[in-house]
Assembly symmetry: C2
Homo-oligomer: 107 residues x 2
DNA sequence: ACTATATATTGCAATATTACGATGTTAATT
DNA sequence: AATTAACATCGTAATATTGCAATATATAGT
């Protein structure tokens, strides 16, 4: 098996889990922290900064792009990766909604 | 190789990624939503509610316990799983700190 | 055109995750 | 004491993820 049974969950649950999953790797957390600290990003900086092979960084960037958290623009022979601010807030809001809905008075 | 290189990241980055990772599965999102909706929880309810085998649910609960998001108390022959409210707020705060630190003016 | 630079893609090995049946464990019930 | 109920744990198969070398692609500079 080993396959997540997405069919039995709602779209919202799957989406939420998908955000969490993409953020669930220290390299991707580190990339987001670095990019947001810089206000601009060049991928080769990340390779030096983070200490993973270029292919690996590129892969992580791809996943962050897949949920639209990062947007990349070609700038000559470089790529400029930036935080997608609208999406960023949107996700933050969704996570807060998720967290705010917990009321646990038992135990 | 398939192993996350945790050594090259800070403890904070690893911890943050760990929360995200645990939350990064729709079954665990669904469990948290259900538990927080109920104000009390019995595991057998979850098996019916979610539609995964009992062993699978039990495994997911274990992971949620591993980051202290859920606490379980023995209640006779049943288990009462509840949201750990302090931890819950703590994590929410950490996530918001993470999200609030992004300032992206580029592109 | 050639070369160097920056990034993406592919292929693959190592390891992790997901799911579940089978089997333990513990406590209430008979 | 035997049985049932409610989990937990183990073992294992299927699949996913991580990481990197090798290779492809695309652009800038010579």
């Amino acid at each position: 098996m080993g396959v997540t049974k997405t069919q039995i969950f709602t779209d919202k649950q799957n989406d939420l889990a998908q955000f969490f999953k993409v953020l669930g790797h220290p390299a991707r957390v580190a990339i987001l922290q670095y990019v947001s600290k810089q206000n601009a990003c060049i991928c080769s900086d990340l390779v030096d900064e983070i200490g993973l092979a270029q292919a690996t960084i590129s892969q992580h960037l791809k996943e962050l792009k897949s949920i639209n958290l990062l947007k990349g623009e070609v700038e000559g022979k470089r790529m400029c990766y930036c935080i997608n601010v609208e999406r960023w807030s949107e996700i933050q809001e969704q996570l807060n909604t998720f967290f705010n809905n917990a009321k646990s008075n038992c135990c």
